[in-house]
C-alpha cells in the first residue's frame, strides 16, 4: 500500500508569485495560531489581577516582544486579507490568472498599509508618536 504511485508534487510547476502568497497564507496562519495562544495568556494575566497583568505587560514591552508583536500583527492582518480572497475564490469568482494576480497585489498592499496603521495606533496609545509633528 505504501508503494502506490502518487501525483507529481509542487516542484513540477513553473514558479508564479501567487504561489508565494499561497504558502505565506499557511505560514501566517500558523504564526497567528501562536499569536492566539499569546492572546489567551494575556487574558489569563488580566483575569489574575493587577500584579500579574503588570508583569505580563512588562514582558510584552521588551524590544524582542515588540518585534514579535509586529510579526504577529502582520501575520494576522495578512491572513485576514488573504482569507477574504480565498472566500471569494470559494464562490467561484476571481480565479482567472490576471484576476488572481491583481487580487494578490491588492492583498499585499492592504496588509502592509493596515499593519503600518495598527503599529501607528499602538505607538500613539503608548504615548510616543512614531512620526514627530
Amino acid at each position: 500500500m505504501d508503494q502506490r504511485p502518487i501525483s507529481p508534487h509542487l516542484g513540477v510547476y513553473k514558479f508564479a508569485y501567487t504561489m508565494s502568497l499561497s504558502i505565506l497564507h499557511r505560514i501566517t496562519g500558523c504564526a497567528a495560531a501562536v499569536g492566539f495562544l499569546l492572546f489567551v495568556w494575556w487574558l489569563m494575566a488580566l483575569a489574575s489581577g493587577p500584579d500579574s497583568y503588570a508583569r505580563a505587560m512588562q514582558v510584552l514591552s521588551s524590544p524582542l516582544a515588540k518585534l514579535l508583536l509586529v510579526g504577529f500583527t502582520f501575520s494576522f492582518i495578512y491572513h485576514f486579507c488573504n482569507g477574504i480572497r480565498h472566500l471569494v475564490w470559494d464562490t467561484g469568482r476571481g480565479l482567472e490568472r490576471a484576476q488572481a494576480r491583481r487580487s494578490g497585489l491588492l492583498v499585499i498592499i492592504a496588509a502592509l498599509l493596515l499593519t503600518a496603521l495598527a503599529i501607528w495606533f499602538a505607538c500613539s496609545a503608548m504615548g510616543f508618536a512614531p512620526v514627530s509633528p
Binding site: 492566539f36 492572546f39 489567551v40 488580566l46 472566500l87 499602538a122
Partner: protein
C-alpha cells in the same frame, strides 16, 4: 457498475470518510471571524485602555464579554482546523503525525477553555 454501497452514497463522506465537514467549518469560522476580529482589533486600538482598570472594565461589560467569548471559541476552532491541515500535509511519519495532531488538539482546547474562563472571571467578578 458502481462499487459504492448505497449507504456510502447516502452519507456522502467520500474516500477520506469524513465528508466536507472540515472544509465547511473552516469557511464558517472564517466568515464569523471577519466581523469578530475586526470589531476586537478596532475597539482595542481606538480606545484608551492602557491601565489595568480600564481594560478590565471594558472586557467586563456584558456585550464585550459575549463577543470576546465568541471570538476566543471561533479563533481556537479555526486555528485547530488550520494547524491540523498543515500537520497532515507536511508530516508524513504516522507516529509523529498522530502525536502532533493530538498535541495541537489538546493545546487548542486548553487555550479555548482558559480564554473563556478568563473572560467569565472578568465579567462575573
Amino acid at each position: 457498475m458502481s462499487l459504492r454501497s448505497p449507504l456510502s452514497k447516502v452519507l456522502g463522506r467520500g474516500s477520506a470518510g469524513e465528508g466536507v465537514g472540515h472544509w465547511w467549518m473552516q469557511r464558517v469560522t472564517a466568515v464569523a471571524l471577519i466581523p469578530l476580529t475586526a470589531w476586537f482589533a478596532i475597539s482595542l486600538i481606538t480606545s484608551s485602555l492602557q491601565s489595568y482598570e480600564a481594560m478590565r472594565g471594558w472586557l467586563g461589560q456584558p456585550w464585550v464579554a459575549v463577543l470576546t467569548l465568541l471570538l476566543v471559541v471561533t479563533l481556537a476552532w479555526h486555528a485547530k482546523l488550520g494547524v491540523q491541515v498543515v500537520i497532515e500535509d507536511y508530516i508524513h511519519s504516522k507516529g509523529a503525525k498522530t502525536t502532533l495532531l493530538l498535541l495541537s488538539t489538546f493545546i487548542h482546547v486548553v487555550a479555548a477553555v482558559a480564554g473563556c474562563f478568563a473572560i467569565l472571571r472578568l465579567a462575573l467578578a
